[in-house]
Symmetry: C3
Subunit: 353 residues, 3 copies
Amino acid sequence: MSASLVGSPILPEPTRSSRCHRKTSKTIMATCVDRCRTTDAATKLLSFDSHLDKSPYNNYMKPSRHPVSELVPCAPASQDSNGKEEIWMKMREEAQSEAEQEPVLANYYFVSILSHNSLESALANHLGNKLSTSSISSDTLSGVFLSVFTEDWEIRRDIRDDLRAVKERDPACISYVQCLLNFKGFLACQAHRVAHKLWSQSRKSLALLIQNRVSEVFAVDIHPGAKIGRGILLDHATGVVIGETAVIGNNVSILHNVTLGGTGKVSGDRHPKIGNGVLVGAGSNVLGNVKIGDGAKIGAGSVVLKEVPPRTTAVGNPAKLIGGKANPIKLDEIPSFNMDLTSFITEWSDYVI
Amino acid sequence: MSASLVGSPILPEPTRSSRCHRKTSKTIMATCVDRCRTTDAATKLLSFDSHLDKSPYNNYMKPSRHPVSELVPCAPASQDSNGKEEIWMKMREEAQSEAEQEPVLANYYFVSILSHNSLESALANHLGNKLSTSSISSDTLSGVFLSVFTEDWEIRRDIRDDLRAVKERDPACISYVQCLLNFKGFLACQAHRVAHKLWSQSRKSLALLIQNRVSEVFAVDIHPGAKIGRGILLDHATGVVIGETAVIGNNVSILHNVTLGGTGKVSGDRHPKIGNGVLVGAGSNVLGNVKIGDGAKIGAGSVVLKEVPPRTTAVGNPAKLIGGKANPIKLDEIPSFNMDLTSFITEWSDYVI
Amino acid sequence: MSASLVGSPILPEPTRSSRCHRKTSKTIMATCVDRCRTTDAATKLLSFDSHLDKSPYNNYMKPSRHPVSELVPCAPASQDSNGKEEIWMKMREEAQSEAEQEPVLANYYFVSILSHNSLESALANHLGNKLSTSSISSDTLSGVFLSVFTEDWEIRRDIRDDLRAVKERDPACISYVQCLLNFKGFLACQAHRVAHKLWSQSRKSLALLIQNRVSEVFAVDIHPGAKIGRGILLDHATGVVIGETAVIGNNVSILHNVTLGGTGKVSGDRHPKIGNGVLVGAGSNVLGNVKIGDGAKIGAGSVVLKEVPPRTTAVGNPAKLIGGKANPIKLDEIPSFNMDLTSFITEWSDYVI
């Protein structure tokens, strides 16, 4: 582990040393962020497959009815005419405005947002503060987060896609800066992206420490081995549990108290595979190595132990398909986008309240 | 935001400045607390309606069978012959006694309770300590809480009604001081009352920060827009999620892992309306703008997507009414008061274990 | 309360004072730990009965088909030829190895594990750090934990049985040191053991403070009155709620978001009694003073309000027995050991997804 990670400065700097699995040499972060922005649009349509290309899940994900193009975030990362990044500039404006309206928080906004020169720097610092303990300093953790953000352009892209997902789908999200500062689902997801990177580099103890701190601070327990796509909304997030061999596609919305859990004490592939555009309602348990097809919806409080076909709706305990197993009703819209959790009840034949 | 909130002293002082929506000038808190105690009994019967008077929920809440008088807390706030407040005096006695029995905690009881001259001061200090971070000091937060307590007599009344509700209904609550120090449902609820006040004053960023910290520290996520009555018991509280446009009546008991959630990504009125005296069992999901009638009971683990009539019991996933939809069994007692979560099983025809 | 608890050193020392319920005088901890290890194997088969001998649960627990011998941990506590304790030596080796692989965490492993001369010292220190606040120092809490560990050999044995249970049953647990440092279910359970001891000594305020801090930090709410056996796995742990009069046998595995809850507001015996070797799936609610028989399994998301016979599987909301009430299918294996949460679905006649 290079010394640069320990006590590394909060603001990005040249990264001169590499440890393992670092694919390319990088110069300075600003350059690197620019580079990823230019490649962003091009890679958007391809990255989902590459993300899952070693997963059994890949085979069944033939997006015949829901082409991936429907499932990419609506707006690509972009920069204004001065080359400044739009989402980070917007976030700074929001922070400035909120600080002016609420002087009690002026210093907080300065330290958390306005003193930073990039989204990555602000996020690394905020996560470091939230997850630090008396034994692990915020500087140490912030340094770890920033180092991974600096070396991995996919994570930097994913952060922005997640920010847009929250802003777009959650009517309670009034600004990007609120998402960054206060949405524990967003924060847990970004911490997981770093833990997953560390896990893939065999830095298991550090990855597991981050998992634990996220579980304690945000009540979100995601094993660092889990593979999670981009454009993810973990709404409210309390009580979410995602197991080691779970795979989650792109543009998925998961409510609180959802379990993507394993079964059995044997190691190996034992957790759910969630397709693109899936919506999982609050308090649902999806257990075992089962596939939830692209664009499917799992109603709140459901218990799902079997495959759910694409674009269908599974509800109840035990879960059944709306419209029946033989001829389930197919959804016209992407459920993770419209967040419609209740309209199916007119079709729910047992619903006799 | 007046400077008086930043670093304001823990013990109450004259409040000389006002920001917005401050209805009346106040002199010193002691006076103000006295005043609210004298008006307390008189306003008790009226306040529920005023609380909800702009809500669509108001129309259906015709307390024909369950007059509001049944649903007010059993004992009004009162003072002894020396003009001292009963509940705060009792709490100090308890703290004194517990400190003597457990010297390890003597300093803790002194700092948390015995050094304060009012319930509001102790509560503001305790919440400030619990919710502070490295970026937001406990003094700042305590100042915010105390300022709102000082300006809003309804919140001061609600705090006491909630204390009585916990003490009365939760057999695990052995004293008022335990409720104040250790019951995270009680603490989350009081923090929400302050966040809701700030939200109604358009101080959204501060309100959302409190929501976030309560969600992280207590695992209770209540949107500051939610309207919550008084005499509330949030038992255990972990995992409770209450959405922005939810309305909760008086004397409601809600167990842990309960969601009063929205549906759809469109803003607007999209969360449940919970009547007076309702009991909601652990792990239930109530979703959408549905009405739960006065004195109704929701069994543990239920999924409720439709209206539940007053004084009926809804159980299961999907929920159905005990006794059947056409002729549901009517409850004789107020379920939030007796906390009876299981006696209906003899009537639950499907219960075939 | 003896002064020795306040600011007592982290490393074990002679305990010269006793407070209440201290059964035997002890000399130094090393001796004491040795003593308990030699008696460990002998008491293993007997201790379950003594643990529960005042409970109504005791009568029905006739292990005719599942003799207790099946349910003790696979490996007894043991020491190597130098008299050093195996599990603690293994944990130190793991810490050494992980610290070398991850220099960022070297100091953390030193402070948390390598600087301690016993498992109890390391655990007491770690719990003290995790549960401390600005008002209650980590030294004070660590002193309380270490003092109880020192005086109670059963708790020292239970800690080791729980470590083995997690390592054996949870495929995500890669080492003992990971369990100690990062598994909040394990940490919550050990903190509860101390709180329960304090509760039994009528040190209620200290016990309730520990309960509260565990609920805030780990989102696990176990009333200090609850009786919990050994060889316990609380997997993921978020949202677990266990009530005051609950009793849990040995070798039980409980997933997250499980409630063993009460009913009614009257004090008295009102919570579930869980037999040996039981597995309770995520998100289940077991309510009231009901018995869950030895070796039974409760499926995820179940609502159980009635007795479940030994070695049967209850699933659903409301729960029913796999195979039917009259002739339920009997499990051949101990469900808490194999952690099989889904294989029954082929028998679940209603499962029509």
